[in-house]
């Protein structure tokens, strides 16, 4: 029946003497070990496999949020729903920062039904506004995994083959109410190449284990709020593209930003196409981006032109994803005593006070711990390697 290797559950393993990890030094203080533990957790993020793996850059992600009665539990402050929505706002921001040409949609499920909170869109503002409004929703009934997955599939199956189709479920209830067999739906998901991941807020549920295993996603259960945030942020990075996703050339438009002032001859104010649906926001405006194919105006990019269907982006949007394609290699650790010359970090010009220093393998420059973290998290390029590139 089950081919998966049975992992040993935590209660089946031996006793873990967790108190032995902390060691006191001579004066009885734990400061050194605490710092060491924090340092190791920081380094864990940096040491990743930067192999030449093809990543799925254009992602269509649906987030399913459980709004059933168990979300009113107060083990996450102030209650699970409020905490989840706040973390989702941060997630949406980070997501569009790392994947500017991808799209996100939000679906909620409660009372055995599912409904769309926001459609798949590339603009973070709409999602954040909807999330803020959703804090007041009433949490009733049971969630329905089948209905919400079905709703997501109906849009995802029309998406082009070169994009990655993903679903992230935040499930807090231990039960689900489905009108038909969910194992059939799992087969459908597999055939449509949709990757489903689950973050559980209560405990591990077998259906979710099977769902994520069959579709190739990940399943985690949170320990506390900071762990929740960590697990959410794991899904921000583009996942490795599955071998079956097609690669194609996507036709995109790069509009120019036109700013016309009232004194210009022939400057005509016009409506933006994104404001046709809602009447909020300014109506007529002089500046904006004009689609190169049909001259429809838009105020914010990236967007898919409603008139002609062309995807409109700016060059920096594509540039934002370049660091995923050319990742910075991890620096080698060494001890500071081995350094013969002056003990200065070559990036920030600070003294090397820590015991560990990092060396870039290509240009052999020395960096301190903080600079190493900063370079790998935000900068994605070695400051000294840039200089040596010029002479080559």
């Amino acid at each position: 029946m089950d081919e998966e290797p049975e992992r040993a559950k935590r209660w089946e393993g031996g006793y873990e003497r967790t108190w032995e990890v902390l060691k006191e030094d001579e004066s009885g203080s734990l400061k050194a070990t605490v710092e060491d533990i924090l340092f190791q957790s920081k380094r864990k993020r940096v040491i990743e496999n930067h192999g030449q793996v093809r990543l799925g850059m254009m992602r269509h992600l649906y987030v399913l949020i459980d709004c059933s009665r168990s979300m009113e539990d107060q083990d996450l402050k102030p209650n699970r729903l409020a905490s989840t929505l706040k973390l989702m706002e941060a997630f949406v921001d980070e997501y569009f920062d790392q994947n500017p040409i991808s799209q996100v949609g939000i679906i909620t499920t409660k009372n055995k039904r599912a409904e769309k909170l926001t459609d798949l869109a590339g603009n973070p503002k709409k999602h954040i506004a909807a999330l803020k409004k959703a804090v007041d929703t009433l949490c009733v009934g049971e969630p329905s995994l089948y209905n919400s997955l079905n709703l997501a599939i109906q849009t995802l199956k029309h998406m082009p083959g070169h994009t990655s189709r993903e679903i992230l479920i935040i499930l807090s209830s231990l039960t689900t109410c489905d009108p038909a067999s969910i194992y059939e739906l799992i087969k459908t998901l597999k055939s449509l190449k949709v990757r489903v991941s689950v973050i559980g807020l209560s405990a591990e549920v077998r259906v979710c284990t099977v769902l994520t295993r069959e579709t190739g996603g990940s399943y985690h259960v949170i320990l506390d709020e900071s762990h929740f945030r960590e697990l959410l942020m794991l899904h921000v990075k583009p996942p490795p593209a599955s071998s079956s996703s097609e690669c194609s050339l996507i036709r995109m438009g790069f509009p120019q930003h036109t700013i016309a002032s009232l004194t210009d001859q022939g400057a005509k104010p016009s409506f933006s196409m994104s404001h046709l649906d809602n009447s909020s926001g300014p109506g007529l405006s002089l500046e904006g981006y004009f689609c190169p194919q049909c001259h429809a105006k838009y105020t914010e990019l990236p967007v898919e032109c409603k008139v002609c269907g062309l995807t409109l982006v700016l060059a920096p949007h594509l540039a934002r994803s370049f660091h995923h394609l050319f990742p910075l290699q991890a620096f080698t650790e060494s001890s500071v005593e081995e350094l013969q010359e002056d003990r200065f970090c070559q990036a920030c010009q600070g003294e090397l006070k820590d015991k560990i220093i990092f060396t870039c393998p290509s240009c052999r420059s020395v960096f301190c711990v903080e600079c190493d973290l900063f370079i790998h998290d935000s900068l994605h390029c070695c400051p000294c390697c840039i200089h040596s590139q010029s002479t080559s």
Partner: protein, 300 residues
């Protein structure tokens, strides 16, 4: 009360490409590298004189390397023991005179000791900006709890852009935007598309100086006020930034192009294989419409 003051950190990145400055000295002797650094020192002194908690850093961007002119590795801040050179005879605020002397000494060291390899007139700004960001990151970690620090970077650019540093430059710009660091640009000679994009994305000011001799005046007028005070001044209008992408095959600016879904390279024409990542693309063939067979109605 002093701990509630905001710290404003200004990092000035000066382009000291010796080939460009050498040619400039022959073209227009009125503006030489020493005059440019005088103007930068005036700006630095004014910035430090605005508030006691303001901080300054100056980086010189050479062809192959960048050096911190101020603060210097060998100079410990607040070390007053036996520094005769620092006390100026005319009663100037000691911090300003120390800064000026250090900058002058360091730039002399940099220009004499750094050897120039190759004859490129292009400057590698991306490396200097990356070092500036690391420095800002370190300083923001070292402030006391409760003190806020606001930073900005001013780039004084002389030579032309180097096209090879596009990707590193964009990485640096996005890192600065995430940390809310403004990048301003003061351009002496030729317009720089990269710096225009940097100023637009991070929210800074871009200015190409009409008269190079008046560099000090422009620096003090436009670039001395910080971001809060700028809303109350009438400053030069933002430049029109061209955000069109350049295609990888011909380097032309295009309005509609084709983007490879794997490596995000941009092409102007459809081609079956991506030249960067060598993936073969699936070509969408138009669907064949089969002619429907008409069923013969059986007349009863």
């Amino acid at each position: 009360m002093a701990s509630e003051d905001e710290i404003n950190l200004l990092v000035i990145v000066v382009d000291v490409n010796p080939i460009w400055w050498g040619q400039q000295a022959q073209r227009e002797p009125e503006l030489t590298l020493s005059k440019c650094l005088d103007a930068v020192m005036v700006l630095g002194n004014s910035h430090m004189a605005m508030t006691r908690t303001n901080k300054l850093a100056v980086i010189a961007s050479h062809c192959q390397d960048s050096h911190f002119l101020y603060p210097n590795k060998n100079w410990r801040g607040g070390d007053n023991g036996g520094e005769d050179a620092s006390s100026s005879g005319d009663g100037k605020y000691e911090l300003l005179s120390v800064a000026n002397n250090l900058i002058a000494e360091e730039i002399r060291n940099v220009m004499t000791k750094t050897e120039v390899r190759g004859n490129s007139t292009e400057t590698l700004l991306a490396g200097s900006l990356a070092k500036a960001l690391c420095y800002i990151h370190r300083v923001s970690k070292e402030v006391e709890v409760g003190q806020e620090i606001k930073s900005r970077i001013l780039v004084v650019k002389a030579a032309e852009d180097c096209a090879r540093q596009y990707m590193n430059f964009m990485n640096v710009i996005f890192a600065a935007q995430k940390q809310n660091i403004l990048i301003d640009a003061c351009v002496l000679d030729s317009d720089s598309g990269l710096l225009q994009q940097a100023c637009d994305i991070t929210g800074g000011l871009y200015l190409k100086i009409p008269q190079k001799i008046a560099l000090a005046q422009y620096l003090l007028w436009v670039f001395l006020p910080d971001s809060e005070q700028r809303s109350q001044l009438v400053l030069p209008p933002p430049a029109h930034v061209d955000y069109r992408a350049a295609c990888f095959c011909h380097r032309n600016l295009i309005e509609i192009g084709y983007v490879c879904s794997v490596c995000l390279s941009i092409f102007c024409n459809f081609s079956p294989i991506c030249t960067t990542c060598e993936t073969a693309f699936k070509i969408q063939l138009p669907q064949m419409v089969k002619p429907k067979k008409k069923k013969l109605k059986q007349s009863t």
